[in-house]
């Protein structure tokens, strides 16, 4: 039997592979079929009925995303029947949508708006809105995530994304008929639903029904307050993703322009979380060495991904002693900005306002944890995502592409290549190894690239002989892989010493706060690969590539922290965790 079928689409004769859908075949042959709920690899339910086609000999129109090709099939994708159906579907959805485009986070890349324009939808049902309108429910009690049913099109992409990426099934479409609504397990509070804030649902949403909790307002207020000394600090992976918001190819590093934009936005000082990434390596590295030499708890887990922290606290709390006590880099950076850097410049900690730009929405939750303070001052005052930073730049009508590059001079903005790679899966591990190996061996090595922990395989393992000890390391990213790894761990098959965990597949480069891309662009580019490459490239070009060679960090020890894991370091740079397994039970 042949693996191919002959068929026609719009009278064009085509050969298609068996098992393909009409949508796939059309796409391969350059025939565009509009779609809404279909999201490649994530959602394929055929519910929105926007991708309908007319098939000869069949009653009614069919969703092409579900429809398999067969021999002799005759498909029409654009006759009057199809066109009017698409238009009707969009009109109906539009009649129930809260159009607040000017205030919407998806103003610039709303899939729905684009569909409406492309299909010339006039919205004749709008006048009847007061009757058939569903009740608008905005769930914004979470510190990270907002769900707005007024904008929701019930496409189900977020529900599928949650399922596909985490397997935690926090979201579902509840109720029936026109009362249908996307809700979390605890409908009132996503915080109490066991959500880890990977943010994949936001990125799957075609509109602004799911967004991060706004941080811009708070930042703008601080900037407007003359008494505040506002410091901004971007995470490693922000600089390799921000560019996409301004039309650059995926994987463009716009570090210099980003710094300039901070300046134009009116920030008083620029730090860089890359600095504290180096600091984190020293603290975490010495913690590891201490556990190794003094019989501490193994395996030791990294602690920089707050999504991962949500996961372990909520689902595997018995392993909390394994977690490194080191705060995540930007929390350390905030503490050091207020407690060390500002006083050096005769600025009082209470006058400092620290803003982190993060690829992540879990960071919004992290800064609210009560223990994230030093001497009564919050370590970080506000978190905005990469997307929100882009929005601020756009709101302020800064022409990003024309900005001249800037290199900040502040002590807390200097970093090594080891910090760069924090943004990719395996990066924290590699950076740690660069330092730990040299400290244990007591000598310097030229080779710094630990390629075995790089790449997108979901669970990576390696064994290194360090100073006579076989050290087993592993790198795990994405909630599904984390779940799987805990099964391996519990089976006791292998003893691990050091494990890097990140809540998002690919690490921070693919975080839930990163720019949202229209599906067709997303399908054509390997975002994780391209953004990570930009980080590794920058690392390669750096003169210094080991955290312990960062002078700006070492000076901090000399002047303030004394030595790694000192009492003061513990006070300001380390934290503790909480069993939150009630999250699991609420499921």
């Amino acid at each position: 039997m042949s693996d191919f079928v002959k068929m026609t689409i719009n009278d064009i004769e085509l050969k298609a592979r068996k098992g393909q859908t009409v949508l796939e075949v059309a796409e391969e042959n350059g025939i565009y079929i509009p779609r809404l709920c279909y999201l490649k690899g994530i959602n394929n339910e055929g519910d929105c009925r926007v991708c309908v086609v007319d098939v000869d000999g069949q009653n009614g129109l069919k969703s092409s995303c579900k429809l398999e090709v067969y021999e002799g099939m005759k498909v029409n994708t654009g006759n009057e029947k199809v066109k009017s159906s698409v238009k009707n579907s969009l009109e109906l959805l539009a009649a129930n949508h809260s159009f607040e485009c000017w205030a919407c986070s998806r103003e610039h890349n709303c899939e729905f708006l684009r569909l409406l324009r492309k299909n010339n939808v006039q919205n004749p049902l709008a006048e009847k809105q007061e009757h058939g309108r569903k009740e608008r429910v905005i769930r914004d009690s979470s510190v990270s995530l907002v769900l707005d049913s007024g904008k929701c099109l019930l496409c189900g992409r977020c529900v599928s994304a949650c399922h596909t990426y985490t397997g935690l099934d926090i979201l579902s479409i509840n109720k029936r008929g026109s009362d249908s609504i996307v809700e979390s397990i605890d409908p009132i509070s996503i915080d109490n639903s066991g959500c880890v804030y990977c943010g994949k649902c936001i990125q799957a949403c075609p509109v602004g029904a799911l967004t991060e909790k706004d941080g811009i307002m708070k930042v703008q207020e601080a900037l407007n307050d003359p008494k505040k000394f506002v410091v901004i600090q971007p995470a490693p992976s922000v600089r390799v993703a921000l560019a996409e918001e301004f039309g650059y190819p995926v994987g463009t590093n716009v570090e210099g322009k980003m710094y300039r934009a901070f300046d134009e936005l009116g920030f008083d000082d620029i730090g860089d979380v890359n600095w504290s990434a180096d600091l984190t390596i020293i603290e975490e590295g010495y913690e590891f060495i201490d556990r190794l030499q003094n019989g501490g708890v193994f395996p030791m887990f990294t602690s920089c991904s707050p999504g991962w922290i949500r996961y372990i606290e909520g689902y595997e709390a018995e392993y909390l002693p394994s977690l490194s006590s080191a705060k995540s880099p930007h929390m350390m950076q905030g503490a050091m900005t207020k407690q060390y850097y500002a006083p050096k410049m005769n600025i009082k900690p209470e006058d400092v306002f620290v803003v982190s730009v993060m690829p992540c929405i879990a960071k919004k939750f992290e800064i609210e944890r009560p223990e994230m303070q030093s001497h009564g001052h919050r370590d970080v005052d506000a978190v905005i995502t990469t997307r929100e930073l882009a929005r601020m730049i756009k709101y302020n009508e800064i022409n990003f592409r024309d900005l001249e590059e800037l290199k900040p001079k502040g002590q807390l903005s200097q970093f090594t290549g080891a910090a760069n790679i924090f943004g990719a899966t395996g990066g924290v591990m590699e950076a740690a190894l660069r330092t730990v190996v040299e400290v244990l061996e007591g000598k310097s090595f030229d080779e710094v690239e630990y390629k075995m922990v790089r790449g997108t395989e979901e669970i990576k393992e390696a064994t290194l002989n360090v100073h006579g000890i076989d050290v087993n390391v592993a790198v795990v990213h994405g909630v599904r892989a984390i779940k799987e790894f805990f099964e391996i761990l519990k089976s006791g098959e292998k003893q691990y010493h050091f494990v890097e965990f990140m809540g998002c597949i690919g690490g921070c480069v693919n975080g839930g706060g990163q720019p949202i891309t229209l599906p067709e662009t997303y399908e054509k580019n390997d975002f994780i690969e391209l953004r990570s490459k930009a980080l590794y490239d920058e690392d390669k070009d750096m003169a210094l590539r080991k955290s312990h060679k960062n002078r700006a960090v070492m000076v901090t020890y000399e002047e303030f922290l004394e030595k790694p894991n000192s009492h003061r370091a513990h006070e300001m740079l380390h934290t503790h965790y909480k069993n939150r397994e009630y999250l699991k039970e609420s499921k």
């Binding site: 109906l92 019930l154 008929g177 026109s178």
Partner: protein
């Protein structure tokens, strides 16, 4: 284990006990036939013995000695078409499930009867529960399924009691759960109660519901006969379809095929409600003119009522006017005239019934029952309902009528499942046959209303 000898012994004993109870005449209209309802009102539905005394389970016995393909052949010969609404040939459905290769197959009896006004399935289950159990048994033998589910709507508490007792008795006698009539075929039946959603009557939504999910239709294909319950080949049949199976096997396909309209052989139980003298349920051969049903069976219009129209299958059906009453029943015969026979419920309307208002209330039903999965039905039912409300209140415009029609055709073309695809039927039929009633209600500028 159950054997022929055991059945015969029970029959003999019971016949002695009941005396001439079975010979009592039930008053029937001369046009009625009692095939499906042959035991209704005759036997005690709580007594398996009385069912056996009326030759119950002899169909299963006969089937147990037949080859699977022969059972299916007999069903095909009978021409039986599913009574759940779609009229799919039952023999063919079984054939598909039989041909599907799998380690496990299922039979599901669809007893979710949810159309307002319909209650033929309830009558069958309440009066003769063993007939459907036997029907399921035979279906199981034919396709090689060893497990059956009855999916009963929650609003039928009496059926639940009767079915529970019947299943228990069948187990005790070794008809269920034990090797049947010296074969190694064993069949189990489990009773599941629905959660009260009309959409769960749609076969794939029903399957989802049995699997413990929210009752929402699945994409077809794959059809249940190849991938149904838990992904296994599954036959879903309606109550009225299954109850006649034992007699078809016992008396032969030819016997059944001779009854009624050749394109829909056999009888159909109609429930007749509305403005007639004798509303009720009637088992009638198919192919009967509707006029005959209304006048001779249901006794004509109630006193003081003038006939306006008859509506088939409620919220998904269409109207027939006076000049169309010569039409005969049968799936294809009626469909040719733009009316779905559906499950066979008839609502008779008189001049006091307002078509727009009726359409509105049916659309409300569909709106409430929409599962919400697809855009056309979730949003469309709401908008059509709003439009009808507006027209009914005298505020409608010409544009609203156009939109009403436009949205209706859109739903028929693009809704995901039968509910959404047939929800606009009354509206379109109403617009077709009673357009003036819609038009007369439009906002009239001249009168300055």
């Amino acid at each position: 284990m159950i054997t022929l000898a055991k059945l015969m012994k029970i029959k003999e004993k019971t016949l002695n006990e009941v005396g001439d109870k079975f010979n009592k005449n039930i008053e029937l209209n001369s046009l009625e036939i009692r095939d499906k309802l042959r035991n209704a009102g005759v036997i005690n539905p709580l007594s398996i013995e009385e069912y056996i005394a009326r030759d119950g389970y002899l169909g299963a016995l006969k089937a147990s000695q037949m080859k699977q393909t022969d059972i299916i052949q007999e069903m095909k010969k009978s021409g039986l078409r599913g009574r759940g609404g779609a009229g799919f040939p039952t023999g063919l459905k079984w054939q598909f499930a039989h041909d599907a290769n799998a380690d496990q197959k299922y039979i599901i009896m669809n007893a979710d009867e949810g159309i307002p006004g319909d209650y033929m399935d309830r009558i069958i289950m309440e009066s003769d529960p063993h007939s459907v159990i036997e029907g399921m048994l035979i279906a199981g033998m034919a396709i090689g399924a060893t497990k059956g589910f009855i999916y009963l709507r929650i609003e039928y508490p009496k059926c639940k009691v009767v079915l529970e007792k019947a299943i228990k008795d069948a187990y005790e006698l070794g008809i269920l759960g034990s090797p049947l009539f010296n074969t190694d075929f064993k069949f189990d039946i489990e009773l599941r109660i629905g959660a009260g959603a009309y959409i769960c009557g749609e076969e794939t939504a029903l399957i989802e519901s049995i699997e413990g999910m929210k009752g929402q239709p699945r994409n077809k294909p794959p059809f249940p006969v190849t991938e149904g319950l838990y992904g296994k080949p599954t036959v879903v049949n309606n109550v009225e379809t299954l109850c006649i199976v034992p007699q078809i096997i016992q008396k032969g396909g030819h016997w059944y095929h001779k009854i009624g309209n050749p394109e829909t052989p056999g009888t159909k139980i109609h429930t007749i409600s509305g403005k007639v003298k004798r509303p009720g349920y009637y088992e009638l051969p198919t192919g009967m003119p509707i006029k005959t049903i209304l006048e001779q069976v249901a006794g004509g219009m109630a006193n003081g009522s003038d006939f306006k129209a008859v509506l088939f299958s409620g919220p998904s059906g269409g109207f027939l006017k006076k000049d169309e009453l010569f039409r005969r029943t049968g799936f294809d015969t009626l469909a040719k005239n733009g009316v779905q026979m559906g499950a066979g419920g008839l609502i008779v309307l008189d001049e006091s019934n307002d078509i727009v208002s009726l359409c509105r209330s049916f659309m409300k039903f569909n709106m409430k029952e929409s599962c919400g999965r697809c855009t056309p039905c979730r949003e469309g039912t709401v908008r059509i309902y709003e439009l009808l409300k507006k027209i009914e209140s005298g505020m409608g415009t010409d544009k609203d009528l156009i939109q009403l029609e436009d949205l209706s055709y859109y739903m028929i073309n693009s809704a995901f499942c039968g509910l959404g695809q047939s929800a606009p039927n009354p509206v379109l039929s109403g617009l077709d046959k009673f357009r003036n009633e819609f038009q007369n209600k439009l906002y009239n500028f001249g009168e300055g209303k």
